[in-house]
C-alpha cells in the first residue's frame, strides 16, 4: 500500500539474516524470500525464519524453477500456509514517480587508535552521539526548513515529501521573503509552490544537511551538569589518529510520507551509514593494517534496479585494481548474484546525482528501425561529445578526437577508468609520448584515424581494440553481423573513420531477412547546444541507412574490447 515502506525481497543462501540490508537505502525492509530451482516445500523454513521479516505478518515467497518458459510463482505465507497471490510487475518509472530519495551528506571524524577494538568503541560512541535527540536536518535548497525530533519548521509538518521537493525546486523568489527565511512564523508562503506533473525520468532527490546538537537546555531531562575538564593523554604516542569520512546516506520514501515521519527515516539512515563505514574501516584494518579516509559511493546497477551503497577509500589512496578492492567488489557481485565479468561496483559506476552539462545516451528514446529483426546497441552509458564543446573550436578537424572522447566517456561511466575526459591536447600529447607522432603534432589541427584512437585507448585506459578494415563504404552493410556481434559481446561504442569524416557507431539494426541494415550514428560534427531537441530533431544522433556511407571511400573501424573483469 502507499503508506508502507518499500519492500525488499532477498535470496538467502545461509542462515544469517540479511547482511546486505546495510548496503541498501534505508526505508527498505526484509519482506520475504525467493527460491530458484526445483520446488521444495518452504513451510518449515518460513515457520522458522518468517519472523525475521518483521514488517509484515505474512511474508512473501517467490519461486522460479528456472526451466524454459517457466513463470514466476508468487505466494504469501498466511496461517502457516502458502497462498497464491497475483503479481503485478512494474517498470522503473513507477519507482521514479512514487518514491523520493532523501540524501544526506556530511563529513564526520573518528578519533581512535588503529586497532579493531578502538574503532568499534569509538564508532559506537559516535553513533550514540548522533541519536535522534541530538541531530537536526536542514534542506539547503529550502532555507528555513528544519527537521528535528520534536518540531518541523519552515513548512507544515503535515505536508508530505512531494511538497518539500516542490519547495526545494521552486524558483528562488518564491522562497525568499527578504530575510533568507520563509516567513517569520515559519509557514510556507501563501502561494503554494507548484507540484510538477510531468513524469520524472529518474529518481527525484532532496538533499539534506546535518546539524549536530552541542548543548542542552534546562528542560532536557538528560542534562548533565558536570563542569568541563580536560584529560591530557600521552600514553599512546602517535598511535591515535583522526580519520575523516564522508557520510552519504539515502532514504527511500513514498511521496505521501509526512515530513515529521521523515525525521526518523533520516536518523535511521545516518545510523545505517555509520554502521557501513565502521565495517569498512574494520575490513581496512584487517587486510591493509591501516585506516583510510573513506567515502560512501552509491551505485544503481541496472540488473538490480535499486541502489547499493559501498564504502571505499578516497580517490588516490588505493588503485581500483588493488586486490583489496577487487576482493570487496567480488564479494558484492556474489552477494547480489551479478556476473563477474562486468563491473557494477567500481567508483566510476557511481550514480551521477548532479546532472552534467553533457547529454547522456541521447539515443535512448529513438525507436528501433527493425523491431522484428535483429538489433544490438551499445550497453551502458556514454556522453555525447562534439565540435565546439568546452569552448574549444575544432570545427573541421576534431571529429575523430570527439569520437574518442565519447568512447572514453563510455569506459569512465562503466567504471573502468577515472572520470576525466581527455582534451585534444591530452590526446595529441599521448600520441607524441608513445612515439606515434612527432613533437610539432601537439597544438596542430591534424586529423587522427582509428589507429590513433586505438593507441590512445590503450595508453590512457589500458583498453585493447579490434580494427576492422572496410575497403569500400558499400561493403559496410554486409558487415552488419560482425557489428551485431560486437554490440552483443562487447557493447562498446565504435569509432569509424573514412574519407574525410569520423563518426561514432552506437548500434546496428537488421531486418528479419538480414537484407537491410541500419546504423545508429552519433555525429561529432554538431556545433550546437547540448540539448536533446535539436540533436535528435536534426538527426545528429539517429538511425541512418546504408547510403550514409561514401560508397567508394575506404573505412577503418576502431572496436574497443571490453575488459572481462569487475
Amino acid at each position: 500500500s502507499n503508506e508502507e515502506s518499500e519492500d525488499l525481497v532477498e535470496n538467502v543462501q545461509n542462515d544469517t539474516p540479511s547482511p546486505i540490508q546495510r548496503n541498501l537505502p534505508s526505508g527498505l525492509d526484509l519482506i520475504g524470500w525467493v527460491k530458484t530451482g526445483p520446488y521444495q516445500d518452504p513451510t518449515d523454513f518460513l515457520l522458522k525464519y518468517g519472523p525475521d521479516a518483521f514488517v509484515t505478518d505474512n511474508p512473501v515467497y517467490l519461486h522460479y524453477t528456472g526451466e524454459p518458459e517457466a513463470e514466476l510463482q508468487t505466494f504469501i505465507f498466511k496461517n502457516r500456509m502458502l497462498q497464491s497471490v497475483e503479481c503485478v510487475t512494474f517498470e522503473d518509472d513507477f519507482l521514479y514517480r512514487e518514491y523520493y530519495l532523501l540524501r544526506l551528506r556530511c563529513t564526520l571524524t573518528l578519533v581512535c587508535e588503529q586497532t579493531e577494538k578502538s574503532v568499534c568503541e569509538n564508532a559506537f560512541r559516535l553513533r550514540k552521539q548522533l541519536g535522534s535527540g541530538s541531530v537536526a536536518f536542514t534542506v539547503p535548497a529550502a532555507p528555513g526548513v528544519l527537521l528535528s525530533d520534536y518540531v518541523v519548521t519552515g513548512i507544515d509538518k503535515e505536508e508530505n515529501v512531494e511538497m518539500l521537493y516542490a519547495m526545494a525546486t521552486a524558483p528562488k523568489p518564491e522562497q525568499d521573503d527578504g530575510f533568507g527565511v520563509v516567513g517569520a512564523s515559519g509557514r510556507v508562503k501563501a502561494k503554494k509552490p507548484q507540484i510538477n506533473n510531468r513524469p520524472p525520468t529518474g529518481y527525484r532527490v532532496i538533499d539534506f544537511g546535518l546539524l549536530i546538537k552541542k548543548s542542552k537546555d534546562d528542560l532536557d531531562e538528560k542534562l548533565r551538569r558536570e563542569a568541563c575538564n580536560v584529560t591530557i593523554d600521552r600514553r599512546n604516542d602517535d598511535q591515535t589518529v583522526k580519520v575523516p569520512f564522508q557520510v552519504d546516506c539515502l532514504s527511500m520514501v513514498h511521496r505521501t510520507k509526512k515530513l515529521d515521519k521523515c525525521f526518523d527515516n533520516m536518523v535511521d539512515s545516518v545510523d545505517c551509514s555509520l554502521g557501513l563505514i565502521e565495517s569498512a574501516l574494520l575490513e581496512q584494518l584487517r587486510h591493509q593494517q591501516r585506516l583510510y579516509v573513506s567515502k560512501c559511493y552509491h551505485m544503481l546497477p541496472k540488473e538490480l534496479g535499486h541502489f547499493v551503497t559501498c564504502v571505499y577509500p578516497l580517490d588516490g589512496e588505493l588503485s581500483e585494481s588493488d586486490s583489496f578492492l577487487e576482493r570487496q567488489r567480488a564479494n558484492m557481485h556474489k552477494q547480489f548474484l551479478l556476473k563477474m565479468t562486468l563491473p557494477h561496483f567500481r567508483k566510476g559506476n557511481a550514480y551521477q546525482f548532479q546532472a552534467g552539462k553533457r547529454l547522456v545516451n541521447p539515443h535512448e528514446t529513438l525507436s528501433v528501425p527493425h523491431p522484428d529483426g535483429r538489433t544490438a546497441v551499445v550497453a551502458g552509458a556514454y556522453t555525447y561529445h562534439h565540435y565546439m564543446q568546452d569552448e574549444f573550436d575544432d570545427k573541421g578537424w576534431g571529429c575523430a578526437y570527439r569520437s574518442l572522447q565519447t568512447l572514453v566517456s563510455w569506459f569512465n561511466m562503466q567504471g573502468y577508468s577515472s572520470g576525466k575526459i581527455p582534451t585534444h591536447n591530452d590526446i595529441q600529447a599521448c600520441l607524441v609520448r608513445v612515439g606515434d607522432k612527432q613533437r610539432p603534432f601537439i597544438g596542430s589541427r591534424q586529423w587522427i584515424g582509428s589507429t590513433e584512437v586505438s593507441i590512445c585507448l590503450n595508453d590512457m585506459l589500458g583498453i585493447d581494440s579490434r580494427i576492422m578494415f572496410v575497403t569500400h563504404g558499400s561493403e559496410l552493410a554486409s558487415r552488419g553481423m560482425e557489428l551485431l556481434q560486437h554490440f552483443q559481446h562487447e557493447g562498446t561504442p565504435i569509432m569509424i573513420g573514412g574519407g574525410v569524416l569520423a563518426h561514432t557507431i552506437l548500434g546496428v539494426s537488421m531486418n528479419a531477412e538480414l537484407g537491410e541494415t541500419k546504423f545508429l550514428i552519433l555525429d561529432p560534427h554538431y556545433t550546437g547546444a547540448d540539448e536533446l531537441g535539436p540533436v535528435l530533431g536534426k538527426g545528429w544522433c539517429g538511425w541512418k541507412g546504408e547510403d550514409f556511407w561514401d560508397k567508394s571511400a575506404h573505412y577503418n573501424l576502431c572496436m574497443p574490447i571490453r575488459p572481462k573483469r569487475l
Binding site: 528544519l146 517569520a184 552541542k214 548543548s215 551538569r225 580536560v230
Partner: protein
C-alpha cells in the same frame, strides 16, 4: 550624532559615594552595546590594586593596573556584557585638561592592547562598539557628569560627543541560557626536542578551534531558527554545529596525534540581553559567552598550575580539572536580574570568590548570594582511572591551602577515639 548611553541610576549613586570618599578616582564602565548605537551601562567598578594614599595624582590613573583589572573583570562578565569604557572622578574637567585627556586615551589604548592580546576572552564587540570607548567624567565638586566617546580607530584617538542619561530601569533584560557540551578530542602538540608539552598553549589552541567551529554555529530558539532581525524573547536556546557536505582536499587526510586532549563536561552559558535586541545579537552573545567562559577557565586554571623547579617529564595522563562557573547577582538588594559569574576550583571553599568579586567588581556578595549549583564538580569514574602499572593521575591544584583545612580521615579517627573515651568515662562514672 554620537552614541547615546542609558545608565542604571544605581550607578549614579555609586559614583556619588566614590566622589565623596576620594577626590580622584577611576574605574570601569560595564554594559552592553547595541546595533542601534545606544549603549546600556549596568555597572561601574573602581580600579583597585592601587595605593589609596598615593599623593601623586597621575599615579592614580595607572594604565597597567586598569588594563589588568579590565581583563579580570571581563572574565566575570556574561557574553554580551563588556568593559565599555572608564569613568574618571576628578575636580578638573578631564576633557579640558590636556594631560588628563592624554592619560585617559593612554589607558584606553592599553586596555585595547590587552584585549587584543587575549582575543579569546572576547573583550570587545567590534561590530557594535566600532572601536569607540566611553569616557564618563564625573565632577567631584559639582556632582554632574559629561560623557564622550574616544574612537581608537585612528592613530590619534578622536573625542566624540555622547549623550548620557541616568535612568531607573533602563530596560527589560531577557535571560537566555544554554549548557554547552564540550565532548571533543583535540590533538596535543609537543615541543619537538623535549618531552614536555605546554599545557596553556595546547588548551588555548583548543579554545581557538572551538571558537572557529562556533563561528558557523546555528542557535535554535525554542527548537526553531529565528530570523536574525526578530526581537529577542526568553526561550530555551540550543547550539547546533553544522557539518560540511563534502570533504575538502585539505581535510581529506589522516591526522596523527602525538597525544590527545579529551574535553568532557559542560560550559554553562547565561547571557543577559536587553529587550530591544534581536535574535541575531543573542546568537552572537551566546557564542561569545561560551568561548569567553572556556578561555577564562583555561587561563585561571593555568595561572594556578604549580611550577616545579625541575622540568622532569610530565605524567603520561593528566586530568586538568578546570574551575567551574558560579553565578551571583550584580545588585543583591534590588530586583535587578543581571548576574555575573566567577570560577571556583573543586577544592576551593565557597567563600573564596567573595574577596575577588569585591576587589575586581566592587560588588559585595554573601555566600547565600552565590549560585554554585549550576555546574557541578565532575565525579571521576573509577573505571576511567588508568590501571596500576600506569602513572597515577594527579590534578594540579592551587598553592597548598590545606593548612586551613582538616584532613578528613584523621578527623574521623579522632572523633572515634573521642567517642570511645567518653563512653569509657561514662562507664566508669556510672560504676
Amino acid at each position: 550624532m554620537g552614541r547615546s548611553v542609558l545608565c542604571e541610576s544605581f550607578v549614579e549613586d555609586y559614583l556619588r559615594q566614590l566622589s565623596r570618599k576620594a577626590g580622584v578616582c577611576m574605574g570601569l564602565l560595564i554594559g552592553q552595546p547595541s546595533a542601534s548605537g545606544k549603549d546600556y551601562i549596568v555597572h561601574a567598578s573602581r580600579i583597585t590594586g592601587q595605593d589609596e594614599e598615593e599623593s601623586d595624582e597621575s599615579q592614580k590613573l595607572n594604565a597597567t593596573v586598569a588594563s589588568q583589572q579590565a581583563l579580570d573583570a571581563t572574565r566575570m562578565l556574561p557574553g554580551g556584557m563588556y568593559v565599555m569604557g572608564i569613568f574618571v572622578i576628578h575636580p578638573k574637567n578631564v576633557f579640558q585638561e590636556q594631560s588628563l585627556l592624554s592619560s585617559v586615551k593612554f589607558i584606553l589604548m592599553s586596555m585595547k592592547a590587552t584585549f587584543d592580546a587575549n582575543p579569546l576572552l572576547m573583550g570587545t564587540c567590534e561590530e557594535l562598539e566600532k572601536s569607540e570607548k566611553l569616557v564618563l567624567y564625573y565632577s567631584s565638586s559639582s556632582k554632574t557628569q559629561i560623557c564622550k566617546t574616544v574612537s581608537l580607530a585612528t592613530e590619534n584617538p578622536a573625542v566624540l560627543p555622547c549623550d548620557w542619561k541616568f535612568v531607573e530601569r533602563s530596560s527589560t533584560w531577557h535571560k537566555l541560557n544554554v549548557y554547552f557540551e564540550t565532548d571533543d578530542v583535540y590533538p596535543l602538540k609537543q615541543k619537538s626536542e623535549q618531552e614536555q608539552y605546554d599545557t596553556e598553549a595546547n588548551l588555548t589552541e583548543s579554545a581557538r578551534k572551538l571558537r572557529y567551529q562556533l563561528m558557523d554555529a546555528k542557535i535554535l530558539f525554542g527548537g526553531e531558527p529565528k530570523p536574525a532581525t526578530d526581537p529577542v524573547e526568553a526561550v530555551p536556546a540550543n547550539v547546533y554545529l553544522p557539518t560540511s557536505t563534502e570533504l575538502s582536499p585539505n581535510d581529506a587526510k589522516i591526522e596523527h596525534f602525538e597525544g590527545t586532549m579529551k574535553f568532557d563536561g559542560i560550559i554553562s552559558s547565561q547571557i543577559y540581553i536587553h529587550s530591544q535586541s534581536t535574535f541575531g545579537e543573542a546568537e552572537r552573545f551566546i557564542v561569545a559567552d561560551v568561548v569567553r567562559s572556556l578561555m577564562s577557565r583555561i587561563q585561571i586554571h593555568c595561572d594556578s598550575l604549580v611550577q616545579t623547579e625541575d622540568t622532569t617529564t610530565q605524567d603520561k595522563i593528566t586530568l586538568n580539572e578546570l574551575p567551574r562557573r558560579i553565578y551571583f547577582p550584580v545588585r543583591t538588594q534590588t530586583g535587578f536580574p543581571v548576574q555575573f559569574s566567577d570560577y571556583l576550583f573543586p577544592e576551593e571553599s565557597v567563600e573564596t570568590p567573595i574577596g575577588r568579586i569585591r576587589e575586581i567588581l566592587d560588588i559585595g556578595v554573601a555566600v547565600r548570594d552565590l549560585n554554585c549549583k549550576v555546574e557541578l564538580v565532575p565525579v571521576v569514574k573509577e573505571d576511567e582511572r588508568p590501571t596500576e602499572e600506569e602513572e597515577v593521575w594527579r590534578s594540579k591544584s592551587k598553592e597548598d591551602d590545606f593548612e586551613g583545612k582538616l584532613n578528613m580521615p584523621v578527623v574521623g579517627g579522632l572523633v572515634t577515639v573521642i567517642v570511645l573515651l567518653i563512653a569509657l568515662l561514662v562507664y566508669y562514672l556510672m560504676k
